[in-house]
Amino acid sequence: MSKKIFTPTKEFEELLPQDYKDLVNNGPYNAPKTIDDLGSFKEITEPHPHCAGCGVSLGIRLGLASLPSPEDTIIIGTPGCSYFALSQSALNYSCTAFGNQNSVASGLKRMLSIRYPQKNKDVVVMVGDGGVADIGLDYTLHSWFRGEKITTVMLDNEVYGNTGGQESGMSPKGKVLNMAPAGKKFNKIPVFEMAKTAGCRYAVKVTVASPKKLGAAIRRAVLIAREVGPTYVQVYTPCPTNLKFSPNQTIANAKDAEKNFYVYEEYMTEEAGACLSKIGELKEKV
């Protein structure tokens, strides 16, 4: 893709709505930004219809602000809460049939590598826990087994949020939800551990309460996926609507999770570590 795609034609430049002018003049395309720059540039994300205090929307905002080269990134999604903000974001986005995201991402990555052999085209799967751990688990695992050079980001709100609160594989055992009144009967699926076993070269478990860690994880995951192989970032994004807490308690809830049951963890293979050292990414302490 050429950067010309973000250059307006002279004839219609004045007619561009203001948010596009902001993206062109002060967006993250030509001068990559990080989450440290949030508030000082026009973000890729737009006002979205997520519930107040939504952890998923925060995860998406932080995740998109951390992409190393958004103009050369395509996000692959699947139905669920994440769709609402991602479909409005100003970067390439494709929503797949539920659960198919890693298969579609694999195909796209291979196609882009053939079409643009000299250029890095990042394919990032960004979906909810239902997409990764339940309906798309087989496709996700197989993409990792095959060593596809894609990044998978799970926005884990531990529930099927937009369909009324059914339990997902990632809901903790015993969790009572709107549509699981007797409580969940089995443990949270250990997708993070499965990622390591299945061949992910880099995997991180993080919450939205730690934006710097989250930002570094996404950035590293994308950079490693370019060179080495599949990467996985599991982000805890609590849902005030279904987990029944006040919308202004999202960060507090995530902080609590980070201390107790969602402790930060970073795993990388030697090859992935060498890749990060080579490009100078390991110097950054998070």
Binding site: I5, E11, F12, E46, S87
Partner: protein, 197 residues
């Protein structure tokens, strides 16, 4: 049972608007155009477009991403031609810079996902789509046909668009300039402009 030929006419066609292709409307070959579902010689369609634009009470031209962004050399020439056409026929320009389903200001841009609402909000009676990808133009034009009485015109780079009431195919800057010349000729003939020479 003899089925009546389906006509692609101004709506409102209804909540579930049938796709023109499913109703038997086929795309024209090179040198021909579509007018309300019929294949006609291109010159006839150009004349009708000029007529509709000049007689419109409130016309709008909606340049899509292929005209809004400088992605190819041809984009600038075509954008200039579209702008000249809008100025000649006094049409408003409402851009559609991309197809995101985001919040829009209907006075500044046409909604990609609810174009019918933007059309109704502004009371447009003639609407021209140019520089839009076919997959999106098809859906947007059908929405407009379904929910409004606006007369739709598609200036297509490729094989024309059956969802518009009038559609030209293989449109480049030259073909848009032909429409502009036709508009000027009609203005002259009707006394709006001084005659040539």
């Amino acid at each position: 049972m003899i089925q009546e030929k389906y006509r692609v006419l101004p709506g409102p066609e209804g909540f579930i608007t049938p796709s023109a292709a499913m109703m038997g409307v086929v795309l024209p070959d090179s040198g021909y155009s579509l007018v309300e579902g019929d294949i006609v010689p291109e010159a006839q369609a150009v004349e009708l477009i000029a007529n509709k634009l000049i007689n419109a009470k409130n016309a709008v031209i909606c340049p899509g991403p292929l005209l809004m962004w400088q992605w190819a050399e041809s984009a600038a020439a075509k954008a200039a031609a579209v702008k000249e056409l809008a100025e000649t026929c006094g049409a408003k320009i409402l851009p559609m810079p991309d197809y995101r389903q985001k919040r829009i200001n209907p006075a500044a841009e046409i909604s990609p996902n609810h174009p019918n609402v933007t059309i109704m909000n502004n009371n447009f009676d003639v609407c021209v789509f140019a520089g839009m990808h076919s997959h999106h133009a098809n859906m947007a034009l059908r929405l407009i046909r379904g929910g409004t009485s606006c007369y739709t015109i598609a200036l297509c780079d490729y094989a024309a668009c059956e969802e518009a009431m009038v559609s030209l195919r293989d449109v480049d800057a030259g073909k848009i300039k032909t429409i502009t010349r036709k508009v000027n000729d009609m203005k002259r003939n009707s006394g709006y402009l001084p005659s040539r020479g």
